[in-house]
């Protein structure tokens, strides 16, 4: 019988959700061989995560095998993707997401410590960079871009929430209700935002003039600055 220290690790559900959503964004924006490479990489990450879980349950040999296989999987995924990318722009576009997802996972399944907000920002930021590049290279439809942006925000929100909960309550506390409501609310806002933009675009016909487009963009930026949270 001894005192149990608080395990200040990121909350499991929100953390897992964040990684899954970020992976989803990466998969949707990848194309062809890139998608296969990403899938292999994600499987590898899952292997590493399982390895750590097993490590805590004192099955050290199995955990090493799993983590090792996972690591090899990640490497194979990245190499397969680099070798078989359909073109340089596809490679450049998906590279940030491919690196961002493992970074996010490392932030939320920390080997030690209580997780890192900086790594969450870095990981989700990389995934969002892929979204921006996809928009820049016009390799994804506007609807996909819209959904991917909203999903990136949800992934960041869930990741940040997981770390905050881990710091204040620790992993052994029951928090699923709170996490569910929080992510649910963010999800609703995301759906509303996507729905609103989608509806507006369906109603508006024709391409906007350059002047109109610029005015809209500037107005939008000013609005953001005014709303500054």
């Amino acid at each position: 019988m001894s005192a149990q220290p608080v395990r200040r690790r990121p909350a499991t559900s929100s953390g897992t959700l964040a990684v899954l959503v970020a992976s989803g964004v990466a998969l949707v924006l990848g194309s062809g061989a890139v998608r296969t490479g990403l899938a292999i990489e994600l499987a590898g990450l899952a292997g590493i995560a399982t390895g750590f879980t097993v490590w805590r349950r004192e099955r050290k040999r199995w955990s090493l095998v799993l983590a090792g296989l996972g690591f090899v999987g990640c490497l194979v995924g990245v190499v397969a993707f680099l070798g078989r990318a359909p073109g340089p722009s596809a490679a450049i576009q998906s590279l940030p997401a491919m690196l961002g997802v493992p970074v996010l996972a490392a932030a939320l399944v920390p080997v030690r410590g209580s997780g890192s907000r900086t790594l969450v920002k870095l990981g989700v930021g990389s995934v969002f960079l892929t979204v921006l590049l996809a928009g820049f290279f016009r390799s994804a439809t506007p609807d996909v871009l819209l959904g991917a942006t909203a999903a990136s925000v949800v992934a960041w929100d869930a990741g940040e929430q997981a770390i905050g909960l881990g710091e204040q309550l620790g992993r052994s506390a029951t928090t699923w209700q709170l996490e569910l409501v929080h992510v649910g609310a963010t999800g609703l806002v995301a759906v509303a935002a996507v729905g609103g933009v989608y509806a507006t675009r369906t109603v508006a016909t024709g391409t906007p003039s350059f002047a109109g487009f610029t005015a809209t963009a500037v107005a939008l930026l000013l609005l953001v600055v005014a709303l500054r949270p």
């Binding site: 019988m1 001894s2 005192a3 149990q4 608080v6 920002k121 969002f128 979204v131 921006l132 928009g135 820049f136 016009r138 994804a140 439809t141 506007p142 871009l145 819209l146 942006t149 909203a150 990136s152 925000v153 960041w156 940040e160 929430q161 905050g164 909960l165 204040q168 309550l169 620790g170 052994s172 506390a173 029951t174 928090t175 209700q177 709170l178 409501v181 929080h182 609310a185 963010t186 806002v189 995301a190 509303a192 935002a193 609103g196 933009v197 675009r201 391409t207 350059f210 487009f213 610029t214 809209t216 963009a217 500037v218 939008l220 930026l221 609005l223 953001v224 709303l227 500054r228 949270p229």
Partner: protein, 418 residues
Amino acid sequence: MTDPSPTHRWRGVLAVTLVAGGLALVAKRPALLSSAVVGVVFVAYARVTSPPSPTLELDRRLDEASPSHGDQVDVRTTVRNVGDRTLFDLRIVDGVPPALAVVEGTPRHGTVLRPGEATTFSYTVAARRGRHRFEPATVVARDVGGSWEVEVQIDDGTTVDCTTDVPAAPLRGRTLEAVGRVLADDSGAGTEFHQTREYRRGDALSRVDWNRYASTGDLTTIEFRKEQATRVILVVDARPVAYRAPEGDPHAVSYAVAAAGQLARAIVDNRNHVGLAAFGREPCWLEPGTGRNHALRVQQRLADHAAFGARPPDDAPAVADQAKALQARLENGDQLLVLSPLLDDEVVETVRRFEAEETPVSVLSPDVTDADGGGRTLARIERDHRHRTLRRAGVRVVDWDPERPLSVAVTDAMGAQQ
């Protein structure tokens, strides 16, 4: 309740929006402009939510309010939302007494509470000797988006009482050692038989031993022991050094405070007067008094005076000054009962100085040194040495292993010295 503070957690989205909007403008990509709109919606979401104003009630239930040392006590804490708004993000950290260790479950809980709804969580603590008051539970409430944060403390004053009655305090008689009471050695009026002597003119008729007169014809007078109440000042050593403890165990001050409460009770039960003082961060003085109510006053003072705080102070005034202030308050015939783990030489020096000024001192020393580890072993040797020094100076020292009840340690010590 603290003022709501903004968490600024949505600031990152602002950056995302600006980058997406900027890129859309520079590279003429209308699709990215719609991405920026999504960002704007999230920024607006962070703005429209209002800070929560939680009104909460706490109810803490113990399955055993007076456990024995080492028992496991289940704590069930219920928090109810008595406000009229839903609290979307409540993070509750229960105020487990610092001396008690949580051995199962966690005193932390996160949940959502609709108006009138309550949440219950439970955990198990291991009881340690002493009276342990639960601290207020800390609740952090956030709005649904997490842009505002409010901290509240809620309390219901639960106490775990893990003490046993002590029959007597280890005190020093002026000239005679007696279990329980401190008695004067002169004869006179009283209730306890002392001796018989030859009748002298003027002795009260009620005190003549008539039985003896009937059988032998000698007139003798019975003398009773004169009782004289002693004033005992309990002095708790609560200097930063006394807050030491083996890993995961309560510190010596928490043991000393618990023991002082029990001893105060024992002293007044034996019709003596008890006062309270401390060597610590703040001066503490409670004028000696007697009776159960006074014992309760002593226990109250031990529970809420800053000098006996559960967390160690950063620094404390010099003990010599505090001792001088205490000396000035003492009356002739007062005795001191110092509760100290004896972890440094300063306290030994202070006790010897009191003894030199003819104030009888007894020391109750909770043993918080640990047998394992080199440094600890050294601490134990030094502490034994201090015991010997004090005993040589004529001070009565009771060594108390907090794993054993205080009453046993006191009874043993008094038996050994009689």
